[in-house]
């Protein structure tokens, strides 16, 4: 825990040892945070750093597994419906394509983006950034931009909201027909769980610290001199 911030911080301080709360601009000297502990902003309670033991390896495995689930979810039936002898099985791909036959194409893109493309992109970006770091290789070109994009996409990844939407949809049609879960539903539930686990293990300050150890070609040379 960051208890009190040190008011004696001067410009001569090593800038790399400081941390600024992105929510309220409070300035702190970065404390030693042991794995499993959280550094929390004293006044707005935002988590500033939350390193976890062996987080890199765990995130890589979780992200890779979630990509496998995601691809499987696409093709297997998600929900099955039957009424009066008629059956229909729906895969996630069908849900996305449901809007194509009208002017609501924008909604298709949006739904597909939030439940499939953005979660997939985020997991892919995390793998791209973290695999070289965990295996002690230099970061890939554009790793910093990739990680920044991944962090900014976080609120737009809506797989867990879609999962709750499934439950509501089931109840809405239960008078109309019998509905049962297909195999893809359970894979999707697994995907939601894995994505949440990735989130729990990911400490962005730790990733930035690791990325900063190595010079990056993305950053113009004159700016590098600020680095201490």
């Amino acid at each position: 825990m960051v208890r009190q911030n040190d008011v004696s911080i001067t410009a001569a301080d090593d800038l790399g040892a400081l941390v600024v709360c992105p929510s309220c601009d409070a300035l702190y000297r970065m404390p030693k945070v042991a794995p499993g502990e959280d550094a929390i902003c004293h006044r707005c309670h935002r988590v500033l750093a939350a390193p976890r033991r062996r987080a890199g390896m765990q995130i890589i495995s979780l992200a890779a597994a979630s990509l496998v689930f995601l691809v499987a979810t696409l093709f297997f039936p998600f929900l099955k419906i039957s009424a009066a002898g008629l059956h229909n099985a729906t895969s996630v791909l069908d849900v996305v394509l449901a809007f194509t036959n009208r002017e609501l194409a924008l909604l298709v893109l949006f739904t597909a983006g939030c439940i499939l493309a953005i979660p997939a992109l985020r997991m892919g970006l995390l793998l791209y950034v973290l695999v070289p770091l965990v295996f002690d290789h230099p970061p890939r070109p554009g790793a910093r931009a990739a990680f920044r994009l991944s962090e900014r996409l976080k609120p737009w990844s809506m797989a867990e909201i879609f999962a709750l939407g499934c439950a509501v949809a089931l109840i809405k049609v239960k008078d109309l027909a019998q509905v049962e879960f297909g195999p893809a539903f359970w894979m999707f539930a697994g995907l939601v769980f894995l994505v949440l686990q990735v989130q729990r293990n990911l400490c962005s300050r730790s990733v930035w610290d690791a990325l900063e150890q190595v010079p990056d070609r993305d950053i113009p040379a004159p700016l590098r001199e600020h680095r201490t």
Binding site: V7, I9, T10, A11, L15, G16, L18, V20, C21, P22, S23, C24, D25, A26, L27, R43, C44, I81, A83, L86, T90, V95, L97, A98, L104, L106, L107, F110, T111, C114, I115, R144, A145, R148, R152, P155, W156, M158, I161, F162, L164, G165, C166, V168, A169, I171, K172, V173, D175, L176, A177, V179, S204, R205, W208, L211, D218, P220, L223, H226
Partner: protein, 213 residues
């Protein structure tokens, strides 16, 4: 809360904080040398963007409530449900908890979100009462809960893909599904445009006032 008034901010220290990687740099730095994102000590255009997106979202919210969200045809009869109408139908069928979820996600949360963003933007521009703790909590709730409003759009997507049983039953999305999705997106962007550091600046302005002779 005297303990919070003496918190040193990056701006006070002549530094600028990066909102992506939480690093501190001299205040003249324009691009974060660590992560490459643009640095601003306070986002002066923040409130303008908040209001612009807020207004667009409000404009989209009107047709989202007037036009039907779902068009259900069962055995020859076609029924069209708006957001509120759909929740009422659910309640009539006895699914009170689901009706409550839909009402909460599609009516209560968006309405409160509009009010909350407006309150934050107004109170930051005219710091009269300074309650940054409450305001920050409100802001975090808006950011966290706002995206859950998408649930109704996803329900429409699932139903229209699933319920294709020929003449027995079929469901099609209505025009409100698009405008409601846009409402949620625009309020999310509006909330993200808000620079929450402005909330805490009120404390320092107050501190400066009391210190002034």
């Amino acid at each position: 809360m005297s303990d919070r008034a003496d918190v040193l901010t990056a701006r006070d220290a002549g530094l600028v904080g990066c909102r992506d990687c939480t690093r501190a740099w001299p205040v003249t730095t324009e691009i974060c040398p660590c992560c490459g994102s643009a640095l601003v000590s306070r986002d002066s255009g923040s409130l303008q963007r908040v209001w612009a997106w807020w207004l667009v979202a409000l404009i989209c919210y009107v047709p989202a409530n007037i036009y039907p969200m779902l068009r259900t045809s069962t055995l020859g009869s076609v029924s069209q449900d708006t957001i509120v109408g759909g929740a009422i139908t659910l309640a009539e069928h006895g699914s009170y908890s689901v009706a409550a979820i839909i009402l909460l996600a599609s009516v209560v949360i968006p309405t409160l979100k509009f009010l909350a963003i407006a309150y934050l933007a107004i109170s930051v521009a005219r710091p009269a009462s300074t309650r940054p703790r409450t305001q920050h909590l409100l802001y975090e709730m808006v950011e966290y809960i706002g995206r859950w409003s998408m649930i109704d759009v996803f329900v429409v997507a699932i139903l229209s893909a699933l319920v294709h049983l020929g003449s027995i039953a079929s469901v099609e999305p209505g025009p409100a599904s698009l405008t409601f999705a846009l409402t949620v997106v625009f309020t999310m962007i509006s909330a993200q445009s808000f620079d929450s550091r402005l909330i805490w600046d009120q404390l320092e302005d107050e501190k400066d006032d009391t210190l002034a002779p």
